[in-house]
Amino acid sequence: MEAVSNFLASDLFYRFRKSPVAVIAFIVTALLVLSALFAPWIAPQNPFDPGSLNLMNGFSQPGVPNQFTGETFMLGTDDQGRDVFSTILYGLRISLFVGFSAVMFAMVLGSVLGLIAGYTGGRTDTIIMRIADIQLTFPAILVALLIFGIAKGITPPSYRNEVAIWVLILAIGLSDWVQFARVVRGATLVERNKEYVQAAKLIGRKPMAIMLKHILPNTLGPVLVIATISLALAIIAEATLSFLGVGAPPTQPSLGTLIRIGQGFLFSGEYWILLYPAVTLLALALSVNLLGDWLRDALNPKLK
């Protein structure tokens, strides 16, 4: 309770209220996240249950009754007769889940490695940062493609669908940890020379305790900013990967997969299969990006 009222009184919240862009971005993000969370209750159809679909509903125009079945769909249907609106909600779920998990994974991995590298220094630092360099040599989509390749090779075919999402998360997360590691390492290098760390060393605190209790909380600001912007990136990365055929399975499409499917109908006039998922993705990525942007400025003490 106190925390809430503290937050409401804080400068951060004040600046938030004063920034219309941030407020709008926040509302859009919140709406999208909530509708993804409650998709099963909001969506008129479960598009992930193929048995419940009627193929004849395919390519229904938004708001116009289907010529064969007479059913009407607010945002139309796709080539499988899936309600585009429901599919967007469910796809949003997948995209957000992949995005969140990938960023969490990258964040934890990167922060831990960065913390260790920055605090221990010396050889450990060199090794970790060299690994980071190698990682950077492999641009994100290559990492993802390769991990996908490996996963395909080592998982039995029947589990592919189940692991596909986790592989995506791993692939995107792995290509993203370096920036967390770098930022945390940089912050750790600064913090570890601060006198409060020396005060803790003086009383015989173990390095682990110093890293976790003292240094880590002080590196969270920039980490949070990167995490936000990474979230948008991860969602886009998932979409890009699906273009290369390594995204979510077609029976459980993410927003990216929907766009990949929909782009095939750009010339044929079934604009809604592409347009609505694309607008949703744009709204999501844009508002998350704007939030991240705003947060970066707001948390930067030098930028007031």
Partner: protein, 327 residues
Amino acid sequence: MLAYVIRRVLQSIFVLLMVGLVAFSMFRFVGDPVENLLGQERTQADIERVRDQLGLNDPFAVQYVKFLGNALQGNLGVSYRQGRPVSEIIAERAPATLELAGVSALFAVLFGVGLGVFTAIRRDGFMANFIMTTSLIGVSLPTFLIGILLIYIFAVELGWLPSFGRGETVKIGWWSTGFLTESGLKAIILPAITLGLYQMTLIMRLVRSEMLEVLRTDYIKFARARGLSTRAINFGHALKNTLVPVITVTGLQIGSIIAFAIITETVFQWPGVGLLFINAIQFVDIPVMAAYLMLISVMFVLINLIVDLLYFVIDPRLSADASTRGH
């Protein structure tokens, strides 16, 4: 500085070996090349014969050592798909990718730095805020969609620019360039924008925030106190200091431009190494994939080296204690 270069080169070699190893071990999982090599009428005996010929029955370590040994002699093997030496194919395709990446990078850097400086100087202006917000649209849609939309608008609907390929090219030695013909120049516009848009946004935002940071430093304040003109301060003092961190990121970004060319090249049927790689994946053309990854790493390493050397040019402090960098 010499020591620095030597160290970088040693590190690069290590990186390349690692990349080679990683790449090589991963390819074993991408699929079975033999299936694609033989038509649908092949027999089991054919499969065995070809596996043998390709050395796919050797133990992994033997394959890797063979690969490395050959690679060191500049022999990257023969493409399964085209039956031609990979080095030759790469040499044939690299100019297209390099020209595309070059133009994209130029586009990204020119506009990125320009708009970044503009938005930093006019920090609270309407235009600046507008640019800042709209620029995010460029990074909020996947590249392939942007490419397809551009094709739809500029090739199909307006008919102004070609939708695919490089147009006419001219050979200069082994290098084929699209810069010397009108159709070549027209053809590069859409792919370059598609590819560079993301990097442009990134550079622009980075330049802006670095510039804002620099504009707040004491030496800028002191420069103002000396009565220097706004121009001299913004462009002479602030911009140059902004460039130091911007160069690193730009270097890294150019690397990923080359990697992301995979998607742009697929969308625009741009005959570069990215398209080659995608074809290679579909065909499990292992020698081509390996060569491509090595090429990307070499480029990355090279770009990073150049970036690091640029630092020495820009920042006089570094020549004094080069040793402390990179640690």
